[in-house]
């Protein structure tokens, strides 16, 4: 059995569960390496992965004997098998924050489970602490992202559309060793930059524009995430004032992130400094990054769980002036014992392109 499944079996045993139903494909990928549609069942003694004809061949290519997972084609699984899996299990865990209400009812009935127990993201919580190999993958994704930013500074010219630039980002990633983008790139220029989640449009880049570039890639399935705000031809003083305030806070947070710090405190630090200066922090300061672009831990005013060594999170304060412009600066950051390490390393001084 592989070490991640062993960890999970120990964990659920400690919680007095004799089995678990896992259906979140990202959790399954994390535990097994399998990238398909199916369900993973940890029963008293064995691990089963049930998939369908489309994936059997691919799944058997990924698994080795050491994984200790028995693969079934769903066509070969009948009602008797389903009722057998958890026969002697009193409590069976399920992903209450992933599966739908109707799936919950379906599993309970199909597998004749006495007591389905909410596991409250135990796997997602474990995923938040990255091992060496995972950190290497994220570092590589961040490196490609930094290189892409360098490329963009030469590439972006007045007259190009936001869509064209977003497309260049996707192209760069594919041609430079990434699996692809980790999310649809944000390229928001001029007034569009005032929307934190702007979608690239056909607006052309003009002199005087503020451009927010929020983008990242995947490497071996692991994500990077970075935002830089740059300028075309010149930066006006009222924009500089906002930029300086965002950057000051981003650097302050960078100095504050370390094992033991709570997300809530980080969020409040930025919120209060923005408020003092007459602005508002309208979104969360950051989020975990890993197999998913947004994952545990979430850096917001509600999260009081301390940061731990080898978590990877983003640090992304932003200010948005409706109808005018916006500034966001973001790095992907590795939490260490006494400090943190920026994994995205691109320049954060004013960058003015011509």
């Amino acid at each position: 059995m592989n070490s991640k499944i062993k960890w999970l079996r120990d964990k659920i045993n400690q919680m007095d569960m004799q089995g678990m139903v896992i259906s979140n494909p990202i959790n399954i990928k994390y535990l097994t390496g399998i990238d398909a549609e199916g369900i993973l069942l940890l029963t008293r003694k064995e691990n089963f992965y049930i998939t369908d004809g489309r994936y059997i061949e691919a799944v058997n290519t990924v698994l080795t004997i050491d994984d200790g997972i028995i693969v079934y084609d769903i066509k070969d699984v009948d009602n008797y098998d389903n009722e057998d899996f958890f026969m002697f299990c009193e409590n069976v865990g399920f992903e209450d924050e992933y599966i739908t209400y109707s799936k919950y009812k379906e599993y309970k009935q199909k597998y004749k489970i006495n007591n389905m127990v909410e596991t409250e993201r135990i796997i997602e919580k474990q995923r938040s602490i990255k091992d060496k190999e995972e950190i290497e993958n994220i570092k590589k994704a961040c490196e490609i992202t930094d290189n892409c930013f360098k490329h963009l500074l030469n590439y972006i010219k007045k007259g190009m559309t936001e869509k064209q630039i977003a497309y260049e980002i996707e192209k760069y990633f594919i041609e430079n060793g990434a699996d692809g983008v980790s999310f649809e790139p944000v390229v928001a220029s001029g007034v569009n930059s005032s929307m934190p989640h702007a979608v690239p449009t056909n607006k052309k880049i003009e002199s005087g524009d503020v451009i927010t570039l929020d983008f990242g890639c995947k490497y071996n399935g692991y994500c990077s995430d970075m935002t830089r705000t740059i300028f075309v031809d010149y930066v006006q003083d009222y924009v500089k004032k906002v930029y300086d305030l965002v950057l000051k806070n981003q650097l302050q947070i960078q100095k504050s992130i370390k094992e033991g710090m709570t997300p809530k405190v980080l969020q409040k630090m930025v919120e209060s400094d923005f408020n003092i200066n007459g602005y508002t922090m309208v979104h969360a300061l950051g989020h975990g990054v890993g197999l998913e672009i947004h994952e545990i831990p979430f850096i917001n005013s509600k999260n009081e769980n301390i940061l731990r060594e080898n978590m990877v999170i983003t640090n992304e304060p932003g200010i948005y002036i409706p109808g005018s412009f916006g500034v966001r600066i973001e790095d992907t950051v590795l939490v260490t014992k006494g400090s943190c390490e920026n994994l995205t390393k691109s320049d954060k001084n004013y960058i003015v392109i011509k």
Copy 2:
């Protein structure tokens, strides 16, 4: 109030519900045009959309006074408001096949709902019947897809990688008026074509390859989906035999699709003809296409709900010989009263590229 929300209010009233919580963003987009993160609450008299600071500006751009939707920033909604929304509602519907078990518990508590009623995809079912504007959007997406296929036949050359071709598909869509791809394109050559859900690799196109191209785009949010299997330099007789059988079935299904037909019967037709010839149909014959690439109705051996006029579905039989090759042929199809119309129209005879 817009016509789609009016429809839904009538529908839930008929089902003795006085309100509904809608959180599936695709359903919200369908009902309101809003493309954001938030929750739509239909209460006794009013419609509320609750979102956060990131989206307020974008949402207010989309909605008009005629939509009759009151927009709240979640920051301004307190516990008293939450308990007020459904104050005089005995039964409140929820998307039991969309929201998680833990969200179900959260909503029930937060909104103090007496009785949360499973609505079993009422909105998704309504979405399966397309109106005129929706059909126009899908037709346009299919037209761009056909043109992309024509382009690919000139573009694909021996020595190119599958990834390069997948990337060209994405590029073509972006540069030719589509919003982007409707799903990650499948480009599977040689032995890779034996996996129905192959992911493009760095394998180069070689003489003698069978290539499966499964791709589609979005236009105004609406999807297209098409598969063609083509050949490099020559087609071997044992491949022709499989291709002919798949095509025969695809054309037979095309003749059989019409209002009143059941998906189960369509699936069984292909399964039995494949079985007679010594092959197996390992996946579903098709699926609905609309705002999502896979939506109601699903064309498989379980679905006994009849097809209706103005549904848009795929027709995609396939045969996969493990370790050797595969053939799939797929069109997006509009169901009409007495027959159907192929919306993707690309050639289905043997296509051999040099």
